[in-house]
């Protein structure tokens, strides 16, 4: 069937309305406005078409802007101050950080580091809801005249020579067998002079592009999985602006991870656990670890009598400088989390995402004016990055996360050396393997062959701790049920013949939304059941599958979580 697609043309097409994509759109719109005012240009008197914010398109797969935004979040405001100088008057900043603590958990007790180590210091930063912040940014972007299309995802790239020329959005109205329903609308073909990939962590188009055009850096990207709950607690349990980070229990010392507890205003609390997706035991269950973490006396005391209001999960790329893909090509740029703009030590990326978006906007503005959007012109982007504080911040911690590959203790030792040597440490550049290669075989971790085994899953008490389905409910995730599965497993045989024996199907453990389930077919053979409608778009499966045969692709636009207040 040949599909007749509607075509639209823009100057700039930005995929993803997160901090990076929206900053790029807003900064570019501002530059264009200033320029047009300066020369008094209109299409009529300049002889050619003037640049206009209307020719900037932004795609967002979520139901509304901000719906898929999840972060801790502590934000360093310096990039936002450059983008929106009077941000303090209108941005939903929630609360400034007033005090911070680093805690070491053992089972049953906790120890506060007498001095908060520098990476955990947050004076001058804000505890924010990224959802609210991004929603607010979306408003500014629309007010600037940019075309923002929610409920549209980028399904595939339009390749053109050595570069890219746009995006095809996802088809709407297909049933689960891929057949058109009555409301079928083929995806749009959106062509642009510059396509900016700002898809966030493990972007599905970015993944295709990096593979196809060999854009990867010397290190593969490294990822963590962040699992978060938002709580309303009893008054007086935690000061707004107090932020605590925890190390230790229940994360064993051969793993890399830690927790956060941030006090927001109105007795609301953001709590969560980040776990590096490079652990050995394939039956490790990050969601259960998070639930267990909440039962620590320190947290139990704070949460007791409170109420869970939201749940969510998202992966984060902390490969840092040496995992940054080449971020420019003919007609294309990669920014934000998709481009590895995240500080791997402090796990902070919002300000770097914003800054990367702004630098991309400056690059694009110059390229559009010159009428040349080739890789040569767009290579100004990495140069701008090089001369900005992005490079400075990322360079100091360029070897940080790699140091923890072999556990907490050697990691602390090596990162100490890095700290005093400006990031160089013992080995520079330090290499790392892809996280999924860390899995040990079932036979090596001492688990019996789990054929037909009903795994004992975490149940929760329904007050402090919850099972995965209950948590998934609180993510507000929703998908059109009758649509093709957006989690494509390239070879289902691997699941039931190879993976079940070698690794015991880790997908049923690592997924924080209970999407993957090992069920039995009519004659009792194992089969993989994919509950795609539960998906919270964290991308963990795409990252952590041991055989790398899961492709996360965009579902019908508007599907996914509703991270209100997250």
């Amino acid at each position: 069937m040949t599909v007749q697609r509607e075509q639209l043309e823009a100057d700039v097409l930005i995929v993803g309305a997160g901090p990076a994509g929206l900053s790029c759109a807003l900064h570019l719109a501002n530059l264009i406005k200033k320029h047009n005012e300066a020369i008094g240009a209109t299409a009529a008197n300049s002889g050619g078409p003037a640049l206009s914010a209307e020719n900037i398109y932004v795609l967002e797969k979520g139901r509304e802007v901000g719906a898929h935004q999840l972060s801790g979040a502590i934000m360093n405001p310096k990039a936002l101050a450059e983008l929106v100088p009077d941000y303090k008057n209108s941005a939903p900043l929630d609360t400034p950080v007033t005090d911070d603590a680093a805690l070491f958990f053992t089972q049953g007790s906790s120890m506060r580091f007498p001095l908060t180590p520098p990476p955990f210091k947050n004076k001058g930063n804000y505890v924010v809801s990224l959802n609210k912040l991004v929603k607010w940014m979306g408003g500014l972007v629309e007010a600037a005249g940019v075309n923002l299309f929610t409920q549209f995802g980028g399904a595939s790239l339009i390749y053109d020579g050595d570069g890219i020329a746009g995006v095809i959005t996802e088809d709407k109205g297909l049933d689960k067998y891929g057949k058109p329903k009555d409301n079928y609308t083929p995806g749009y073909e959106l062509r642009a002079k510059v396509t900016v990939l700002a898809e966030g962590t493990r972007g599905s188009l970015t993944k295709q592009l990096v593979e196809k055009k060999n854009l990867a850096n010397i290190n593969p990207q490294a990822y963590g999985l962040g699992i978060k709950e938002l709580w309303d607690v009893q008054p007086g349990r935690m000061e707004p602006g107090f932020v605590a980070h925890t190390l230790g229990w229940p994360i064993s010392t051969d793993m890399y991870g830690g927790g956060w507890v941030y006090g927001l205003s109105n007795n609301r609390l953001s709590i969560g656990l980040v776990i590096a997706l490079e652990y050995g035991d394939p039956t490790f269950d990050p969601h259960a670890a998070f639930q267990q973490w909440k039962t620590h006396p320190y947290l139990k005391k704070i949460l007791d009598g409170g109420k869970l209001v939201r749940y969510g999960a998202k992966s984060l790329p902390y490969g840092g400088w040496y995992a940054m893909p080449r971020n420019y090509l003919d007609g294309g740029l990669i920014i934000g989390d998709s481009g590895s703009f995240l500080d791997s030590q402090r796990l902070k990326g919002i300000h770097l995402a914003i800054k990367s978006g702004m630098l991309a906007a400056e690059t694009i503005f110059e390229a559009l004016q010159a009428g040349d959007t080739s890789a040569k012109t767009l290579s100004a982007f990495p140069k701008k990055v090089e001369h900005s504080y992005i490079k400075k911040e990322l360079w100091q911690v360029r070897n940080f996360h790699q140091a923890f590959q072999h556990g907490l203790i050697p990691g602390l030792f090596q990162s100490g050396l890095q700290f005093i040597s400006g990031g160089r440490g013992l080995i520079d550049p330090m290499r790392n393997h892809a996280g999924h290669q860390a899995y040990k075989k079932l036979s090596e971790v001492g688990h019996a062959r789990p054929h037909h085994r009903e795994p004992e899953r975490f149940k929760g008490d329904g007050k402090l701790t919850f099972d995965r389905l209950t948590d998934v409910y609180h993510s507000g995730t929703r998908h059109e049920e009758d649509q093709p599965c957006h989690l494509i497993v390239r070879d289902l045989n691997v699941c039931v013949t190879k993976c079940v024996v070698e690794y015991g199907n880790p997908c049923q453990y690592f997924c924080p939304a209970a999407v993957y389930e090992m069920a039995q077919d009519a004659v009792g053979n194992p089969k993989l059941k994919i509950n795609a409608a539960n998906c919270v778009h964290c991308k963990t499966c795409d990252i952590a599958d041991p055989y790398q045969i899961i492709d996360w692709v965009v579902p019908e636009g508007g599907g996914g979580p509703n991270y209100e207040g997250m």
Binding site: K181, G462, L469, Y473, H479
Partner: protein, 328 residues
Amino acid sequence: MKILVITEQRQGKWNNTSFETLAAAQQIAADTGSAISAAVLGKGVANFADELASKNIAEVLLVEHDLLGAYTPDGYCLALSQVMESAKPDLVLFPHTYQVRDFAPKLAAMLGKGMIADCVGFHKEGDKLVFVRQMFQGKTVADVTFQGPAPWFASFQSGAFRADLLAAHSAGKAPVNKISVQLKPEQIRTKPLELFKEVKSAVDLTQAPIIISVGRGIKAPENIPQAEALAKAMGGEMAASRPICDEGWLPMERQIGSSGQTVAPKLYLALGISGAIQHVVGMKGARTIVAINKDQNAPIFEIADYGIVGDIFEIMPALTAALEKAKT
């Protein structure tokens, strides 16, 4: 205070949420000493106006125009802004339907007003009328109130009020007043095409008084007929939790829960359903819930009025036989 309720009919059929909203209006009117007008829009809808007149309200506003025959957001907004001018209501209430979601915010914005959408209740705080909205999928509720001068706009969620509590007119009939509105074809920018239904022959479980629902406990598609036999004996409709519809054992339109339908029947019989929150939110409004499950710790028993800890494959046929026997 003057309350105006905008009712909804489409293609010769009421949207029943209209009557729930009318019931809400009657309760607000009782609390605040207000008069209710109810408007019906369309082409050739005098019989609808007549039906409204039998309810306990002050007047019916009949708004007819050729260009209101098919729903368009422009047509409805232009017509209603004119109705607003002549009726001068303080409070305008809508049923929170798909159509209302489409035009009501636009109408409110046209008139420079705010709107409190998708409310589930109201109460009075002093002189102030406070509306209740759900947040975080019903986990918490927020009290919201209006600022600034009337008219105020609000819509009520389906199921928030009971249409069967709607009071009839005490003296027979309320007057039906026609309001003529000016609409020009060029003002209407959308062109309605033929209506289509996405799911063919969809059952409307929301109207079923008795629902028999099966979950994972049914185990295999071969066992569905046992439940169907019981449903037939009870005179109820079949429904299911998600795994069953996922497997295709029952069609998707029979799915109850957060990703399916929300129902509030008189009787809900849950067979082998554990009671995950995703399912419970779709049926917790049922008047009586009966649950049969092997696992005595299944969360479904927390909300069930009657529960049997046992094997559905023993109980289903026994119940069916007993019902058949009672009938003969």
